[in-house]
Symmetry: D2
Subunit: 412 residues, 4 copies
């Protein structure tokens, strides 16, 4: 969509309340577009007073400002990331990607209620977020059209970059606070914080140059280790250090405890964006990293080799689906049914020791579906039955090993 398609239309614009939001809103209103601004409160750790967003957006010309608390939903979806171990390309927790889906699902009912069918967002034309906004929206509500000013020649002709926006806002007396170039761009919610762009685009900028927003770097973490104990029941964390918790509390407390020990702070990745471009990010996600490692220890105890073999590719697939904006599609829904079944086995208490960014296994207790048996595992206690079985086991395996050689497929 281009500006011409919006004339005299009403649009719901996803805003963060920053420089872009004020600029885009005021500019659209100037062009005769009615703008309803929408902000999801996702527990952004970098947002001191989210209510200020309302004032700024109304001052920028929005006809209405919707500020919605989605902290509980995003915390619940955060636990789904933990349960599916959905790290992108096996590495970091893709907290930005999942948040876009939560925001879109939050916006749509408000749009339907108001008969608005154009969704606007401030994501750029080279990134992943534009993909997530659009696919999630059109998958849930196919009549939705998406307007992205950073892909609109009319908007781009007026605003080449940050400087023009600051000048524009100052010129119109808009209540922005930004006055100079930020060294990096950040995206944050209660699950995680992403740093990218700016100086980070230079691969010789060390991770250490960012300023953590959800905790501290290992270097400034305490000099003593802390034991952290979480109990999961059918996949959900139900207590931390012995105190019962809600999903939201699980995230909040794990962020606090993990963050202060440098857990999940400052992970760097150069990733493959959906549009085929490589980009670099530095990531923070203390709660997901901490709960995720504990959950992995639990899975090690309850999944057998075959269950693990099926879990791993599904986990990788789900992370890719989130990344690419397909959290709501058929393939994710079906995959989730598989994970959900395995969640049913994930009951138990895991203790870990936290020290300067490290999560070390401490103890596992009360795991009803555990396949680990101290007696069976023991190398020491050899009954009179077992060894004969192994002789036969290897005799059988040896048949095919020898056959490979005899068929000229292996050689010394």
């Amino acid at each position: 969509m281009e500006l011409a398609d919006l004339k005299n239309q009403k649009i719901m614009l996803a805003v963060s309340g920053g420089l872009d939001s004020c600029t885009i809103t005021h500019w659209l209103v100037e062009q005769g577009v009615e703008v309803v601004a929408y902000t999801a409160d996702l527990g952004q750790p970098d947002e001191k007073n989210i209510e200020d967003v309302r004032d700024r957006m109304l001052a920028s010309g929005a006809s209405e400002m919707i500020l919605e608390d989605l902290i509980d939903p995003i915390c619940r979806v955060g636990l789904q990331l933990v349960q599916s171990q959905a790290r992108y390309e096996g590495g970091y927790w893709n907290t930005t990607g999942i948040a876009r889906h939560v925001t879109v699902a939050g916006m749509l009912p408000h749009m339907q209620e108001r008969g608005i069918h154009i969704m606007g967002h401030g994501a750029t034309g080279r990134g992943n977020d534009q993909v997530r906004f659009q696919l999630a929206a059109q998958m849930l509500s196919p009549q939705i059209e998406v307007y992205a000013p950073w892909r609109d020649p009319a908007f781009l002709a007026s605003f080449g970059g940050r400087k023009e926006m600051i000048d524009y806002c100052q010129g119109h007396g808009l209540p922005i606070t930004a006055t100079h170039d930020k060294p990096f761009s950040t995206d944050a919610n209660i699950l995680g914080l992403t740093h990218e762009a700016g100086q980070l685009e230079d691969l010789t900028t060390p991770v250490a140059l960012i300023e953590p927003g959800m905790g501290t770097f290992p270097q400034s973490a305490p000099d003593t280790a802390e034991v952290f104990t979480v109990r999961f029941a059918k996949g959900d964390p139900v207590s931390i250090n012995g105190e019962a918790i809600s999903p939201r509390q699980a995230i909040e407390q794990s962020n606090a405890i993990g963050g202060r020990h440098g857990i999940g702070i400052g992970l760097h990745a150069v990733e493959n964006r959906f549009v085929g471009i490589k980009s670099r990010g530095v990531y923070e996600a203390p709660a997901l990293e901490l709960l995720g490692q504990c959950y992995e220890y639990l899975l090690q105890l309850v999944l057998d080799r075959r269950a693990r073999k099926i879990f791993s590719p599904i986990s990788a697939f789900i992370s890719e689906q989130i990344y690419q904006g397909y959290w709501f599609d058929t393939a994710t829904q079906a995959s989730w049914k598989l994970i959900e079944h395995l969640n049913g086995l994930a009951t138990g208490t895991i203790s870990v020791s936290l020290y300067k960014g490290q999560v070390a296994f401490h103890a596992a207790n009360d795991i009803p579906h555990s396949l680990y048996s101290e007696d069976t595992a023991s190398m020491e206690d050899i009954g009179d039955f077992d060894h004969k079985d192994s002789e036969g086991f290897l005799g059988v395996l040896g048949v095919s090993a020898r056959a490979l050689n005899q068929a000229g497929q292996t050689t010394l």
Copy 2:
């Protein structure tokens, strides 16, 4: 095979020179079996003077003792682990598993030379090592038979455990040094050290109870970070901190530097043994962890999304093949060809910062096949072409997103 099958036969026995080795050798000789002992020098960090093994084995009755230096081969194979990122079940570096293959490949020519067709080993009947010894041996040389005393009723009738062996050796004046129960069992080579069994079988024993053999725990690592720089050329590390290195030096220096910072020390895993039993281990592998993380950073720069998608399952498959004793089979050979092609792209210099067990990305330089482009990645610099393309890109993707909804497959 049982004792009865060995009478008046000559056997080559893989030995470490410890309590088991002395006991088994002397007992076999007593039963009329000729024992040629074989030890591979794999740079075991827990072995102070590997030449002592020779004396102990000859004193125990071995007719010949072969001590072979396989440090170079195991270092080269260690780099293959790095290149294929072959962590078992996605976690630790399976340094014990790969070492068995190296040892077997070392033994076989000596057996052929001497016309010996029975290989003996002291691995237990519940573990993975028996599988690796047997499959590797029979795949490379199908006429080989394997004798494993810990699966032989005759041997088991005499030796129920550690105590009986100590008594037996002391009774026969054999030169053992063990005098009391070890708390854990360890297996070590220059690539890594595995702790398992004993107190570790209890899941409430924290990782912190083991004593590292290849470095130090993060807690006792230096309080200042150290930058480590490695250059890879077509997959192989060719210099560390600017000094040219051989494969062996790459492992040795990375062990030294990584180990002193607690890198790769004390990873815990409960894993699925090939025989279907869960077991717990605590692992050390400083060099592989350090070089492995650096290599992963390099791969992030040179592999596109599709290459990554094909690399990941092959990596997982290779790690499973090593674990299960199939390093030499057709499927591994074929998989390696794929990895080898990707190695050809892995040229570049990676710097990381080491601090108390953490490897943080520091810088990447001189990467000829890098797909990362600062210009393309930039969110700031928006040309007049790009945004239109993205509009079309999303228009196309939106067609199928909407179709899912229209077909009743997704709902708000």
Copy 3:
């Protein structure tokens, strides 16, 4: 288990009523073992009067004979094969493998009722069925022990092969009908019929030498094609040629119609047995092949690219699990949840044309979740919007294509 472990015990023996069944039963009774015989009626197409089995087993000395009708359960499980497209190694329908699980699940309650904890079966020591019997039984009821006479030295000492069994039965006046060597061995149930062993072990024996038991070879099928129409509702076939059907009728009618056109008759495969041996079989499964191909046509209409991508490996995995005796384990259960979700989309009517072994697509109708849109697919009707989007779509894809070349990863 060996004979010695059975003395004065009561065993439940899975029997087919043939030569092996009579021999094993009588021999066990002679050795002082009480034998309760169990036969599942699985709609075996090669069994004329399954009630005769009762007479033969009682005459052979069984203290009790349980004949249980499991035709409905095996038909329902047959539809699960169709829904998951679970062809072994991508090829044939593994009807023998799934039947073992059905039989074991049928036997166990009778064993519990009678306090019997030893299950006996006549499967050989080199095949897959022994694996399925044992794993299914011990997974559902871990105190079960399994006795397999073909792995028992005592039994083997008496019976080297078919001739000795015939002599033994004739000598004891047992009511067997077999009087000479069968050219092949067969296993059959309402889902399929497997031919193997005997002359088929020679790879120069053409498939044409077997005699079909569930239909006819294409050569002798009618010279005119027949249209077959099936409607699926949420994955289950609910009508054939317009008449409502039960799961059992779906299998029966598809067997009859498919079989007479040579559908699914005579598929040859050399497969990898669980024990690592290659073996050859010739397979018949008219209903599964016919319904399976129709279902695949339906899936092509309702699964998008991502759903297909997740369906395919899960389908392959399920077929492997059935083959290896793991139908009841966690990994299969979890995988089934994923399939079940996709079944929810599989509603529609598919018509195919049957001719001499070929199933040709004829028509698809009334498919509510279909993603196929004649309008969208059309190449002819080009709107003014679409082409611009494609230009952008390719512009975006082109960025990464060019980057590969610029990074020296591709060359002309």
Copy 4:
């Protein structure tokens, strides 16, 4: 690119010589564009005299016509499809997809030679071919720009469909032969023929309505079966029915023999196009189907379970890469190295019987790397060693089966 970008430029246009080719060429020349026409002779079975293309294109205004014989290259690449069993979404042979890569690789050197950097093609904006042209071209030669008239508003404004093109050509006296609407659109080369669009877009049009171009439907095939014997050496077919053959002869003869028996004629698929649209096609590929099935029989004999497990996903991946235009990229190159290693095992003679569309296994001979052993496979001949091993093998497997139940993961 749009027309405006082409003014006074020289473009190389991939043409087939039909209605579109003449129209586009003449129209471009009218607009002041110099057109060099390029046709690859790929052995199109529907092209009677490919030299006529030259006359038609020059008459339409092309300044030069390049007609290049690429039959040998496409036959060699066809054998790569056979070796990797690269059927799209597990079904048909994607002969159109691979051909685009061959054509692009053929064109590029001619473009370089003439200093032309714009490639034109007549593929539509909703299909896959536009993707393959563009990605293959830009991957091999990144400075290439692509002009696709069916995505150009200027062209579309003049030509809404087939009728306008016929009128245009007749008005300008261009030598076209088309005079009325074709019922379907076809694309053909020596490897295969694709029918789509037109009446086929209606899912109630049976496959039987197309007219085969590479053979006959099973209904009109001979009433007697024919035995076909092919010998492969390291993956390549080297003789058919005992006569030595080149790659091209392998394709030609298999097309002739397979085609007359209805092999690979008329396969229907509804597939997921890269752009996310479902489309329907009916496919012919006699040689690939015939050689492909023979090769699969050979693979069944030489690949063990693990090699098969790694072959299958790589095969699926390669087919997807071809479909999406990524034949030349890093991931395909790396995957091919794996396949190439397995080709090294694929030596042997396979005979099949052909009858009315069916390929039935007849015999396998002289297969040096075969893992099939008649002796080992035999169920009859039971040595005194094997059965004991199986008892142990199952004893070991039973441990984990029981553990699942004891952990509450399975129930009766």
